[in-house]
């Protein structure tokens, strides 16, 4: 019996094994309970897969979304509701990558003690509802996107995608891509704003770039194909070429660099390929490498050919230029600071920034942006059917540390259309954040 008694410790060992498992389970629960509870099957906090509790406010405490026991409420101001639809999300759950999804873990109001009792949590977003509304009014119903971010922290102050619907009433009219957040999920031909990428590659690979001159005769002949320019710019420095948005100059720079160099640069800058966005990724920008010496290569260097970018990637690129070559990745929660990534060296960033400021001073007109110390680039992307996307991207060199990208789909000329929207939003921001 003594032997059996000793051997019976095997039962004790088995019990200890189970106890160990219980410990592992409790440890996992402590670490990941919030994520488990935030799963959309949890009917205590989701109704049909949509969050049914929690509050999202803008950075100043203005309520953008709130839910309790399946009752939903949104911003009081109609324009804010429209403007924030894509960034915030709504009770229908048709839009992807919204704050509602991103912060569901906090919004379900999980606590290890009470689990998810339906009270919900509150998250203060980095968005400024005043800028949201301003951008929405400036877009004035035209399809497009506005992204404004703080380049010192990465906080996104404005993220508006049009068309949108009022989340209070749901979608009432059909519009193509209503459910897409154009800022991060839309891909658009960049046109001349892509010259910032080509210029970056040139600054890094052509040592005498800044002392060179480029001659523009109004077009570039390549194997029987013609690359047209916006005018006849004659002899010009690279700064002047960027301010003129000269296709001949940037076409020949692209030919000199070769497609692979530009592609590598575009990928490093986050313009080609996708960017991480809260556990998911943004739409993947595109840059195809065309044959050496060909017209498509020249076109690809000036943002045509098969080039596609997202507005967010362009705002981020401008934020990197503003930040001396390093960028804080975009964040949507007030007070958060994005991870730091270096896209280019400080010298290159300084040069690009000076060129962008030169654009404003000598080409776009400072009077069009009163009171703003602006560095920017316009883009008028040809779609091939005669219409053009209007782009305006850049940053404020002094005043509030903001970088931005504005897109108007088939919106006409970059400076007039997109520049106007950008000016409107930036004037508001400059007023609110002057100190």
């Amino acid at each position: 019996m003594k032997r059996i008694r000793r051997r019976s410790a095997v039962t004790l060992a088995l019990a200890l094994l189970v106890l160990f498992g219980l410990g592992a389970l409790l440890a996992r629960l402590a670490l990941r309970g919030g994520r488990w509870a935030a799963y959309s099957a949890n009917a205590h906090v989701y109704h049909n897969g949509v969050l049914a509790c929690g509050t999202l406010t803008d950075r100043n405490g203005v309520v953008l979304f709130s839910a309790r026991d399946g009752e939903y409420a949104y911003a009081e101001e109609e324009a804010v509701r429209f403007a924030s639809l894509h960034a915030v999300g709504d009770q229908r759950g048709n839009i992807g990558s919204t704050a509602l999804g991103i912060f569901s873990g906090d919004l379900v109001g999980y606590s290890p003690v009470n689990g998810t009792d339906g009270t919900g949590g509150e998250v203060r977003l980095s968005l400024d509802s005043r800028l949201q509304a301003g951008a929405w009014y400036a877009l004035n119903g035209r399809p497009g996107a506005v992204v404004v971010m703080d380049y010192e922290t990465g906080e996104i102050l404005c993220m508006v995608s049009s068309p949108a619907y009022d989340p209070l009433y749901g979608q009432r009219r059909d519009a193509e891509g209503m459910y897409i957040n154009r800022c991060i999920g839309g891909l658009f031909i960049p046109g001349s704003i892509f010259k910032l990428v080509t210029l970056t590659a040139a600054a890094e690979h052509i040592p005498d770039l800044r002392s060179r001159t480029f001659t523009c005769n109004g077009s570039l002949e390549l194997f029987g194909e013609t690359v047209h320019c916006t005018g006849v710019h004659g002899e010009q420095t690279v700064e002047q070429a960027l301010a003129n948005s000269c296709n001949c100059a940037f076409g020949s720079i692209a030919l000199e660099l070769g497609g692979q160099v530009i592609r590598d640069t575009a990928e490093r800058l986050g313009v080609a390929g996708s960017l991480p966005w809260y556990g998911g990724r943004t739409a993947s920008g595109r840059f195809d490498v065309a044959a050496r010496g060909s017209a498509p290569l020249a076109w690809s260097g000036i943002g045509q050919y098969n080039d596609l970018v997202t507005p967010y990637a362009m705002a981020r690129l401008c934020a990197a230029v503003a930040g001396g070559g390093a960028v804080r990745e975009g964040v949507l929660r007030a007070g958060d600071t994005g991870a730091r990534s270096r896209l280019m060296d400080a010298d290159t960033a300084g040069f690009i920034g000076d060129c962008m400021n030169y654009n404003v001073v000598y080409a776009y007109g400072k009077n069009n942006f009163p009171g703003l110390d602006l560095a920017a680039k316009t883009g008028t992307a040809e779609l091939g059917d005669g219409s053009t996307h209007a782009w305006f991207v850049g940053y404020l060199r002094s005043g509030p540390p903001l970088a931005f990208a504005v897109l108007l789909e088939q919106g006409g000329g970059g400076l007039i259309a997109a520049g106007g929207v950008a000016n409107h939003v930036l004037q508001l921001a400059n007023g609110y954040y002057a100190s």
Partner: protein, 598 residues
Amino acid sequence: MQYSGRILAALAAWIVLRCARSMLAADDAPEVWAYLSPPKGERIPVAHWECLVGRSGGADAVIDDPAAAGTHALLQRSSAGGWSVTDLSRGTGVLLNGRAVEGTAPIKSGDRLRIGKTTLRFTAQDVPRRDSPPRRRPASSATLLLLTLFELTLLLQHCFTAAAADRPGIILSFGILASLQWGGYFIERYAGARGFEPETLAFLLTAAGFSVAASSVPENMLKQSALFVLALTVFFLLGLWLRELKRVTALRAAAAAAAIALLGLTLVTSESVMGAKNWLTVAGSSLQPSEFVKIAYVYAGAASLDRCLQMRRTLLFTVFSAVCVGALALMGDFGTALVFFTAFLVIVFLRSGNPLMLGLPLAAAAAAVALVLTLRPYVAQRFASWGHVWEDPLGAGYQQVRAMSALASGGLFGRGAGGGWLTSVVAADTDLVFGVVCEELGLVTGVCCMAGVLLLALFAWRRADTGRSSYYVIAACAAAAVFLAQMGLNVFGSMDLLPFTGVTFPFVSRGGSSLIACWGLLAFLKAADTRPGGSFALGRTVASKTPAGGGKPAAAKSAAAPDAKKDAKKPAAGKSGRSGQAGKRAARAETKKKGAGR
């Protein structure tokens, strides 16, 4: 209602703690059934029905004699009271009253046993003696009162959430549960058995199971109650049956045969349900025979010490186990096969103590697993999703992901009985039952349920010190192993710490077969419980005649047991947990006998 979750958690924790304090308290002095008195030095107590005599430290009665073998002889008591001695010396031999013992010979009080160069006088005790009074334990009735409050709180929560049409059934079933637990308690108490903690824990788990059933299939509560009555009946009948070791061991082969027959029948006739061919439909209700086989398996697998010493019998048991596990694997019920395999390993290790005996079956099992994974791809799929369920929450990880989410959403105190959503997921009330309990009743109550099963296992281990026969010890440990394996696979499988195999949580998972099997296995634990006045499943020697029960019967026996007078004066009587009732009845019985003598 707001605080009912907290009340529930507090009650569950309190119940478990009270039971733990009582079940894991320091041991009472062991029962002494006989003495071996050497010519010089202290007499050696024989504290079990089976006693190895020899020189080695592993012997129960150690004799300091270089001429004796390590394990020289086996003393064995039959439940009728007679003793026998078996020569295990392989050569030197055992002399009984000067004559060599060939094989096994009967031995009685006063006989002289010569082992090596030592002569021992054998004195049997008609009644087991204890060298110290029984310890005080927390009152079972108070714990049971807490349990009743626990059930009442559950019932209140259910009345709050359940549909009006289901309420009467739920109330009635909880009423049946509470009355049966009190009924069981008073019956056992009347029989002189006060160690009600294992039952209390099982009732706690069953109450949690009733709550799950009331949430999941409220219209079926009466069926659940009926099955519970059946389970409790099996528990008491099996417990009573286990009292007499002789009749128990006589039916071991029959139990083994029944197990194989039942599994064979299932294999031939059953319908496949969710990939496992383990359901049998009898008279309109479906059974899971593999659950009943668990009882038969433990029954047939446990062995008294003389059989443990025969390697041939252990090998035979291995073959029997291979048939059972193989049949379960053929049915596709791999979870249950794993439970049986765990029980097998525990039993074989207890019987042989030989790690080598485990090596071959383990290797064979590994080969079988490899074979299964190639032949049954859906099992491989379960293994493939193991640890990655969140990557496929709508496919292979569907159930686990939901169980984990529900568990977290319940917090410490739950969303209230009947207030959960996990019950709408397939097999929530069986395979995902831990998630349901934690979601509705809270993590504290869920962990208390696990602690309850762990306590039962620790109890089985503790009782190994004083079990009368190795049969009872092995059976209790095997039953505990089944409980632990099932709970481990159920909880950790549904929480993605182990592959999801779909076995039941003992006592809690809904299902009549499983409930009956669990209560049946609990009887084995009761049979190993030799605490004074503890268990109804012990032979009547203790239930009516322990010296602790009162002075008179012990004094009456003083002629047979020379030291009994001394014991009778000890202050055990009257004060202890196992005081009045049984002792008085025993005394009455003695008086009657005397009267009849005159």
